[in-house]
């Protein structure tokens, strides 16, 4: 099976956000970057599918700065075969621009399966996977938490409000991974060593201006300082009174 996984380099979920000097972006000083957690599910799924098929490859593709080589190495250490860095100084805010660059790289690749994360945890766009699928003319199922593939037929399950949607689709296809799809492995020391020798191709790319202009980045409005109503069950009548009379939510 020929499988491609799209990876994004994102700030760790524990990051304390400081706004940069331009007032429009994250101050990256001291920020630890990681492989987007949902992309770990994508890589893991790719590896399992490749190994089950007994042949093929898992290629990982990342649009990002030079430092994203490290992100790609993480996936190689998990077991992916090769990496491609589409190098740019700045990852676009407009996910459609990202999708276009990825599509240009992946078209005519003869992929059986293209895996993305359901969302990147930094800008939470929820869009690159399905946009990529549209650009490539491939069927797509998003936010997949369970996947079965038999030959060129796939069945996927995705969570919707109040239920689970069971979706059938033909391969080749684009799938975006949700939590629950699998348990991503941790790279073993052997994998980390091997990753250093795996091919990693770097290609500079040009990006369009995109259709989203960032005007400002701000910290969220502070929640109004809350208060401790009291201790133990005795505080409950007062809590209920506050919820009714002050917050007016009951």
């Amino acid at each position: 099976m020929k499988i491609a996984c799209c990876l994004k380099r994102v700030p760790d979920s524990e990051t304390r956000v400081k706004i940069g000097a331009d007032g429009k972006s994250l101050d990256e000083a001291g920020v630890k970057f990681v492989l987007n957690p949902y992309d770990e599910f994508a890589v893991e799924e790719g590896l399992r599918r490749r190994d089950k098929a007994g042949s093929g490859e898992v290629a990982v593709v990342c649009l990002g700065p030079a430092a994203a080589q490290e992100t790609i190495r993480t996936a190689l250490a998990m077991g992916a075969d090769r990496g491609v860095l589409l190098q740019t100084d700045k990852i676009p805010t407009d996910g459609f621009e990202t999708a276009k660059v990825l599509a240009a790289e992946l078209k005519d690749g003869g992929w059986d399966l293209i895996l993305c994360g359901k969302v990147a945890i930094d800008d939470s766009s929820h869009q690159v996977g399905p946009m990529l699928a549209e650009l490539l003319g491939l069927p797509c199922v998003t936010a997949v938490a369970h996947l079965e593939i038999e030959g060129t037929k796939g069945v996927a399950e995705r969570e919707i409000e109040g239920g689970i949607e069971v979706v059938e689709f033909p391969l080749p296809a684009v799938i975006t991974a949700d939590k629950g799809l699998n348990e991503p492995r941790y790279p073993a020391l052997k994998g980390i060593m091997a990753a250093k020798k795996k091919p990693l191709e770097v290609k500079p790319v040009q990006l369009g201006a995109g259709g989203i202009e960032v005007l400002a980045m701000t910290l969220p409005p502070e929640r109004k300082e809350g208060r401790i109503v009291g201790e133990g069950p005795d505080a409950i009548p007062e809590l209920v009174r506050l919820l009714r009379e002050e917050a007016k939510v009951l």
Binding site: S13, T15, R16, G95, F96, E97, A99, D122, D123, S124, S125, Q127, G129, P130, M131, E134, P139, V141, T142, A143, A145, E157, R158, E159, I160, E161, G162, G163, I164, E165, V166, E168, F169, P170, K179, G180, G211, I212, E213, V214, L215, M217, L219, P220, R223, K224, G226, R227, I228, V229, P233, A235, I236, L239, V240, L243, R244, A247, V249, L250
Partner: protein, 324 residues
């Protein structure tokens, strides 16, 4: 005349709760641009509730029908909506960032060749252009963005755009559309337990964390949910979902659902940053925790320090009195 398209949602022939929210967001743009709102819904036949959309500011409500629309059809819906926009020259297309909207909106945007501002919490018009607020970094920052292309495609975070009465004609129309069956086909929807409300849709969410000690103890929270009548759902932290105590569908947070209920009650949850990511836009937050230094108290409007097994039953009792 400037036209805004509001994409409604239905399941089993009835409009979903996010529909009036989308009309409200679209109306706001239409008012600012001096335009009209056309609401559309894809369905196999008539849809219950479409006659209510005029109340919230829809000038027309168009049901796009096709046999393939008995269930959600990703490719069919995308084609029908993209064609509608191409033919109608709408200035903006507004979706909900529901599970379906998150799947559909990027497909439509890509077909139209435009950017998508997803999961926004506020919209306005500045200098004739749509601007929107988007939470990023799990809600730790907010981006103000201008959508420069046309049409502007947006999806609205559920539960944030409280429907506002803004009566318009709401003239109904049905248009049969030609779409292929599509390669991606929804076979079935396995419904969650009958009557169980989804945490993403409930007005009140009561979430339990590791402090619940064991799965069976969640009945304490279920009893409280029951006391609120049909309005409350029980959610969970990742710790208890990972432990297998609760299904993933109930998880609130960065790798679970984003909820914005009127009232969020966190019980035995410490308030890790990844949990806060999923609930910090709730209108009112109550925390019940035995540790007075738990970080959850920093975001809670009201906190009660104490043993949840004493505090929650008392709360249930008081709520029952209210509704009794």
């Amino acid at each position: 005349m400037t036209k805004i398209l509001a994409v409604l949602e239905q399941r089993d022939g009835a409009l979903r709760k996010v529909s009036p929210e989308v009309v409200t967001g679209a109306r706001r743009l239409a008012d600012a641009l001096g335009g009209t709102v056309e609401a559309v819904v894809c369905a196999a036949g008539t849809v219950q509730g479409t006659d209510q959309m005029g109340r919230f500011g829809a000038d027309t409500v168009v049901t796009l029908t096709a046999p393939a629309f008995a269930k959600y059809s990703p490719e069919g819906y995308a084609q029908a909506i993209a064609e509608r926009v191409t033919a109608g020259g709408h200035a903006a297309v507004v979706f909900s960032a529901s599970a379906t909207g998150k799947d559909l909106a990027p497909r439509v945007a890509a077909r139209l060749g435009v950017a998508l501002a997803g999961d926004v919490t506020d919209v306005a018009v500045e200098g004739g252009k749509v601007v929107a607020m988007r939470p990023v970094y799990a809600g730790k920052a907010v981006l103000k963005v201008k959508v420069t292309g046309t049409p502007a495609a947006l999806s609205l975070r559920p539960n944030i755009f409280t429907p506002v009465e803004r009566p318009k004609a709401g003239t109904a129309e049905t248009v049969a559309v030609q779409v292929p069956a599509g390669r991606v086909v929804v076979r079935e929807i396995k419904a969650a337990e009958a009557g169980a409300l989804d945490v993403a849709e409930a007005q009140i969410v009561i979430s339990g964390g590791r402090g619940m000690k064991e799965p069976g103890n969640f009945k304490v929270l279920e009893e409280l949910a029951l006391a609120f009548g049909g309005r409350a759902a029980v959610g969970a932290s990742r710790a208890v979902v990972d432990a297998g105590w609760r299904p993933h569908a109930d998880q609130v947070g960065q790798t679970g659902k984003t909820v914005s209920p009127t009232l969020y009650i966190a019980v035995g949850i410490s308030g890790a940053i990844q949990h806060l990511a999923g609930m910090r836009t709730s209108k009112v937050i109550v925390a019940i925790n035995k540790d007075k230094d738990a970080p959850i108290f920093k975001v809670a409007d009201y906190g009660v320090v104490g043993d949840l097994f004493e505090v929650v039953p008392k709360l249930t009792e008081e709520i029952k009195k209210l509704h009794g």
